[in-house]
């Protein structure tokens, strides 16, 4: 249905004024679900889905090789040795149905899930300049998610569904009589309708092979001979049946899953699948006007256990490249004890973040990229060695926690307690007392862990030091600075000295009981 030049208004009236319906159908959806996340090479090989011991769906290559629905796997293999026998994949089928519904709900506010593989849309209110191009856009969008779809557009829901049977991949029915006249009776077949085969056989016996032939019969005659089921088929064949759509909302569950036939030994096939998953999830979330705020990855393992990891997206996005990079970076350093046997990826949606940068902006410009960089840095230096330091509420030296930096000037709480110290300490009122650390003297550079030392002291003052870093006669000392705390638990106390070596260099040494340590240096020669 192409608009005449300058006739946009007319089209809008016909689509928006006269109610039209669009059916989205995924033919052979069980086969498509089973093949969806396999490589392109597998998709062109003969393949058949087997359920309850019989072939239920097969691709064109298998059909050409002589395989037919209803055959047992043995019969099918006898006709085609290269046939891929696939079991049904319920999780993949559900993901496919949810993806289809998500796209349908994104295209129109009024959508019905007619069957697992069919969605019907009410096109009321949509401003569409060219209906066929619009249908083609929907088909392309589904194709980008590895779903081969057919789109039928007509004046009522059942006629739209019939249009999908003749769609390649889009069919717009403007003249229903002409369209139905040549359509074979098989187009009325519905999944799970057992009585159709019997009625079709009777009709063939009468010499009726098309919907046009069926609709030319009188309704009363059809009712008398074929009963209510026959009348229903007659009404559908005439394109006259109208009904209200059972409207549904877009699913709020965004999850993709795949069960492997064999245990995976390398990350490459897993990443291939995850890329497809991320594309599908990002597209669905985007269609709902949302963004991905969190990804949850679950890998069931061969030993019955599982690996689970949640990725919080610093700045919610529906950009598949950004989301995949986060997963890809994680897999660069992931080593599992056992091989994965399946993969599940779920996305938690949130409203997309909108920020306006100020003139003197200090926030991180690309939070997702920054998070990815931090993950890479952690892979180099260790996950507990990156973050924003936060001092612990204690006077015990060198007690801090590292928190991951937030993107908006705040840091994520609950970072690792590097020193593994949870208690609070207190400064005892002993003389002399070290002043505010950053207020005076040179900054200290610590040795982690402190270096063990032997110190010769006279009247309690260090005179000679033997250690890896500081060695020799002590030329000058400042201290002692005594600190202690946690007297109510496992109390600690330490005595610190700042010393200058005769050979040069200023160090901080400390005494814990009878043991001496070099804590760090202020100046090294």
């Amino acid at each position: 249905m192409r608009c005449p030049p300058g006739g946009t208004e007319d089209c809008v009236r016909r689509v928006g004024g006269v109610v039209m319906f669009c059916a989205l159908s995924i033919p052979d959806y069980r086969l498509q679900a089973a093949l969806r996340y396999r490589g392109e090479a597998d998709a062109v090989k003969p393949a058949a889905v087997v359920d309850a011991g019989a072939v239920v769906e097969l691709n064109a290559a298998a059909l050409n090789a002589g395989v037919a629905p209803g055959m047992s796997p043995t019969q099918a293999l006898a006709r085609c040795l290269k046939l891929q026998i696939l079991s049904r994949a319920p999780a993949a089928e559900q993901a496919l149905a949810e993806t289809l519904l998500g796209i349908a709900c994104g295209a129109s506010a009024y959508a019905e899930q007619t069957a697992a593989n069919v969605c019907t849309l009410d096109m009321r209110g949509l401003r569409i300049a060219e209906v066929e191009a619009w249908g083609m856009t929907l088909a392309r969008r589904l194709a980008s998610l590895q779903m081969e779809a057919r789109v039928g557009i007509a004046a009522n829901p059942d006629l739209a569904l019939l249009a999908t049977r003749a769609a390649e991949p889009v069919r717009v029915v403007a003249d229903s009589t002409a369209f139905l006249a040549g359509l074979p009776l098989g187009a009325l077949r519905e999944e799970g309708n057992e009585s159709f085969a019997g009625i079709a056989e009777i009709l063939h016996g009468w010499g009726i092979a098309t919907l046009g032939g069926l609709s030319r019969l009188k309704k009363s005659d059809v009712a008398a001979r074929l009963g209510p089921e026959g009348v229903r088929l007659w009404e559908r064949a005439g394109g006259r049946s109208t009904r209200l759509l059972r409207l549904v909302r877009a699913p709020e569950r965004y999850e993709e899953a795949f069960d492997f036939e064999r245990e995976l030994e390398s990350a490459q096939p897993l990443l291939f699948l995850l890329r497809r998953f991320v594309d599908a999830l990002a597209s669905r979330v985007d269609a709902a006007g949302l963004a991905v705020a969190e990804l949850r990855l679950v890998l069931p393992l061969s030993n019955g256990g599982g690996y689970e990891r949640v990725f919080r997206i610093p700045s919610p996005t529906s950009n598949a490249d950004v989301l995949f990079r986060i997963l890809d970076t994680h897999f660069e350093n992931l080593r599992l004890e056992h091989a994965p046997v399946a993969v599940r990826l779920a996305a938690e949606p949130a409203k997309p973040e909108r920020r306006q940068f100020r003139l003197f902006e200090n926030a991180v410009r690309d939070p997702n990229r920054f998070a990815e960089t931090l993950a890479r840095v952690m892979a180099v230096v260790g996950s507990g060695n990156v973050g924003v330091p936060e001092m612990k509420p204690t006077h015990r030296p060198d007690r801090f926690a590292l928190t991951m930096p937030g993107v908006d000037g705040t840091d994520e709480k609950g970072g690792e307690n590097r020193a593994g110290f949870a208690g609070a300490g207190g400064l005892t009122a002993q003389t002399p007392r070290r002043s505010v650390p950053t207020g005076s003297g040179l900054p200290l550079r610590r040795y982690r862990p402190p270096i063990s030392a032997q110190v010769h002291a006279e009247h309690g003052r260090p005179q000679y030091v033997v250690s890896d870093q500081a060695h020799g006669v002590v030329a000058g000392v400042m201290g002692p600075y005594r600190v202690s705390g946690e007297w109510w638990e496992n109390g600690w106390s330490t005595e610190e000295w700042d010393i200058q070596m005769a050979a040069g260099g200023i160090f901080r040494i400390s005494r814990h009981g009878e043991e001496w340590q070099v804590e760090g240096s202020y100046e090294v020669v």
Partner: protein, 210 residues
Amino acid sequence: MQTQQNEANAAKIAGLRALLAEKFPQPPVKAGGLLATGLPGVELRRGVVTEVSGSSGSGALFLETLLNSVAETGALPALVDGAGGFDPVEVRPGLRVLWVLCKEAQSAVKAADLLLRDGNLPLVVLDLQMNPASELRRIPATTWYRFQRILEHSTVAFAVLTPKAMVASAAERIELRNRWSLGAMRRRREELRQQLEAECVVRRAERKIA
């Protein structure tokens, strides 16, 4: 024959650059500008490698001043700590510094590379002052040229703290001339800052092509 080989090599390098650009896309920003260090008359140029060398005490004082000065503006500076010796008590309360603790110079260089490519932070400091000389000798000279190349298209200020001059490609080299004695421990930090002698000994002009 030689010309063909040169062309082939040039094509290979161009391909490699394209591959790197694809793997580590750079934000399209214009280089230039100065970053205040907190020391009077001493500024860091953005988009170039600046080497700061001197005694460890001067280096620590410079580092503390620089990090707090940048963090005070609300930005998040990064410190790649080559020997993991930074004392976080030096960061003033309420300020934020991204601290990367490394055990050796090699991993510090890798971490700095990643942060420079990221381009999100205004300042990256690579502190190698406490790393043993044997580790520093193992850093290939090409590393610094690579950093220079990364920085060419960014607004990140990058400072490398070293015990003595070793970064051949540094566009700017600041020498810290002080040597400290125990008496410095009695003086206020602000006094020490005022005493810090920082001299820019190398300043290469920016190459202009238009």
